[in-house]
């Protein structure tokens, strides 16, 4: 294996993700677990940036490390600061489920195209045509924006509707804030 500095960075970042994931799984203090998931997202964002995907990295940093962490902390505020430690026999089934799901994902990795391959669907399908046509068609330098808002505008409308639906669902489940609690002094 050649010593490409970017690949060393990839491996280092992925190793950090693994360590943080184990730390989150083992954390008893839920405040620490919530903060560590934020750190996890931030390192994910750095990794996406290394992979030349600044738009995805930006979203991950803003949503994953920012808003999600705050919502996690809000949940910790509601649920209490400490996790209940379950007896060993009740931890076996979740462990088996997690290992099985992880194993299936690792098995699926063998079906992915090699890292940086020119024959991936993204490089051999319509992706290349978007790159060529986005400039003359839309005069928008950032092709990602052109694809998201124009070529795939209908998909993005769906995503916006999904976020709106999630908002409605949260309103239905948690209520519109203070109103139902009646002040709660």
């Amino acid at each position: 294996m050649s010593l490409d500095p970017l690949q060393i960075l990839d491996v280092a970042l992925l190793a950090m993700l693994l360590v943080i994931a184990i730390a989150v799984a083992r954390a008893i203090n839920l405040f620490a677990a919530a903060m560590l998931t934020g750190v996890y997202s931030l390192i994910c964002a750095v990794w996406f940036l290394v992979l030349d995907a600044p738009d995805v990295a930006f979203t991950e940093a803003a949503v994953g490390a920012g808003i999600s962490t705050i919502l996690m902390l809000g949940t910790v505020l509601l649920a209490g600061p400490e996790a209940r430690v379950l007896p060993l026999r009740r931890r076996i089934a979740p462990f088996v489920a997690a290992v099985a799901a992880g194993g299936l994902l690792l098995y699926a990795v063998s079906d992915l195209p090699p890292y940086g391959s020119a024959a991936t669907p993204a490089n051999s399908g319509v992706g290349f045509e978007y790159l060529q046509r986005a400039g003359p068609d839309t005069h928008v330098p950032n092709v990602v924006t052109a694809v998201l808002a124009s070529y795939r505008g209908f998909d993005t409308l769906g995503e916006t509707a999904v976020i709106f639906t999630a908002g409605i669902a949260v309103l239905l489940l948690l209520g519109a804030g203070r109103r139902r609690n009646g002040g709660a002094q």
Binding site: T75, L78, A149, I163, V170, L171
Partner: protein, 141 residues
Amino acid sequence: MTAHPVLRVAAKLLIPMIVVFGLYVQFHGDFGAGGGFQAGVICAASVILYALVFGMHAARSVLPPAAVRVGAALGVLLYAGAGMAGVALGGNYLDYFVLPGGQHAGIFTVELGVLLTVSSTMVLFFYAFAGRARDIPGEDG
């Protein structure tokens, strides 16, 4: 009453910058990384920071929950309306070429819709979660 003066001053300095950065990400999304989604989250973060430092009560009076709910719906309506405008002007749904401003106007409008929905929904999430908790005390908490 005057708890955490450092936090208060830092938040007062940071919140305008966060909003300006959010708007930059919104309107610069055509040229650099970013767009309505990221900008919406950043703008929501400024409201959340305000609520964390100055209390839910103050945040609710700055940005009432009713306005947030209307904003979330308005964003989707704006996006879908941009699509219907294409139909009304003789094109297909979400066809920006027939719009007066062309592709640029279409992308601008739908990104604005995304910004409205995302920022409103994120603040709405926060209001819903924080409204359930007993103690995010503010100035008068």
